[in-house]
């Protein structure tokens, strides 16, 4: 059940990252989850739903982007995807490989919605912010 402790960390970090915006203004949290984290996306989602109820994020949604497990070969330099947890180079079959993606739970971005003030609109026009919504791709 370590999904719960991870989601607690996630909520705390999302709240910190949103500041100075209020926690209740966070509409959506985007995370990237790799297969080597040992946590199940479905259970992360469930943990989030049950934990958010008692926080200011009770109307916030969580979007989990499942990441492939990838590695680089330290012998031949090939970049490849690991399937079925076979940790060998897809090119030269050696086992000297380094995981490049797939062993972390990454807080990617937050979508924050606020009542715009004049100052905020002024600030936004000078920074790279987006108001298009949730999807980057």
């Amino acid at each position: 059940m370590h999904e719960f402790s991870l989601v607690q960390l996630l909520i705390a970090q999302a709240v910190r990252a949103a500041a100075p915006a209020k926690p209740e203004s966070i509409r959506m949290i985007h995370v990237a989850l790799g297969p080597l984290t040992g946590v199940e996306p479905v259970l992360v989602q469930q943990a989030f739903e049950s934990l958010k109820a008692s926080t200011a994020l009770n109307t916030c949604e969580l979007e989990i982007l499942e990441q492939p497990l990838t590695a680089v070969c330290l012998e031949c330099g090939a970049d490849f995807e690991i399937n079925n947890f076979v940790f060998r180079c897809a090119n030269c079959n050696c086992d000297r490989i380094q995981i490049t993606q797939g062993d972390e739970l990454r807080l990617v971005s937050l979508q924050v919605e606020e009542q715009a003030t004049t100052q905020m609109l002024a600030a936004c026009s000078s920074t790279t912010t987006s108001n298009k919504g949730t999807q980057d791709e």
Partner: protein, 229 residues
């Protein structure tokens, strides 16, 4: 006018990065003291406590070791090991794995001396402990001959994150359908750099080799600290 402004805050950070950093700091501190931290992981009943008992008996007063033993409930393992080694029980009260904070508390409650080896006997579980870095220098996964020899493939993260595989209870091999070759091949498919050892705490086979392996790991650790300084 109700002017709702929506913006995207880019963060892109591993949420466990603080935990990972804390574990790295603990690892470094203990390395500088000359203490090799070994995290023993396995399913319940694979023989972690018996291995530590045999290790302490083999070394006697020739090595300074200490044990932090994790269980969900009871102090049975600590009581069992207490005649042979300094030991503290870490009781998680239900949690399926140990966390670094608990390990730090346990270490602080041990006699203040520079141990050469600090063993952490994790909760018997091949899933959750795989995701928790306890600041160890070596993770050793035990598989006993009374379990299936197909365990590595079913719990890849645990075997991927370990540095050694210990096949335990090899005295039972004549009586159980367990292939040592199969378990080793399955584990090496996941982690090709694994050191593999075979032991029996009942007849003592492999205990000396295991203790030599530990000594060699500690020598490597001390060399690596020397290189950094």
């Amino acid at each position: 006018m109700n002017n709702i402004h929506s913006r995207v805050v880019q963060i892109d950070r591993d949420i466990t990065s603080e935990r990972k950093q804390a574990a790295a700091e603990f690892r470094k501190t203990l390395a500088c003291r000359g203490t090799l931290v070994v995290n023993l992981v396995s399913s319940p009943g694979a023989g972690k406590t018996s291995l530590l008992e045999a290790t302490a008996k083999f070394w006697g007063k020739h090595r300074r070791m200490a044990v932090l033993v994790g269980d969900i409930a009871t102090e049975r393992d600590a009581q069992r090991l207490a005649p042979f080694t300094p030991v503290r029980q870490l009781t998680t009260g239900g949690a399926c794995h140990l966390e670094l904070e608990l390990v730090k508390q346990g270490l602080a409650s041990l006699p203040a001396e520079n141990f050469q080896f600090l063993f952490i006997e994790n909760i018997g579980n091949l899933v959750c402990p795989a995701s928790h870095d306890l600041g160890e220098h070596r993770r050793v996964v035990l598989v006993s001959t009374t379990e299936g020899d197909d365990k590595p493939g079913k719990y890849p993260k645990m075997f991927r994150t370990s540095q050694a595989l210990l096949v335990t209870k090899i005295d039972l091999l004549p009586y159980v359908p367990f292939s040592v070759d199969a378990v080793i091949n399955d584990a090496l498919r996941i982690q090709g750099q694994l050191d593999v050892l075979q032991v029996s705490t009942l007849d003592g086979r492999g205990i000396e080799a295991w203790c030599h392996w530990l000594d060699a790991q500690r020598e490597q650790l001390i060399e690596s600290v020397g290189r950094e300084q």
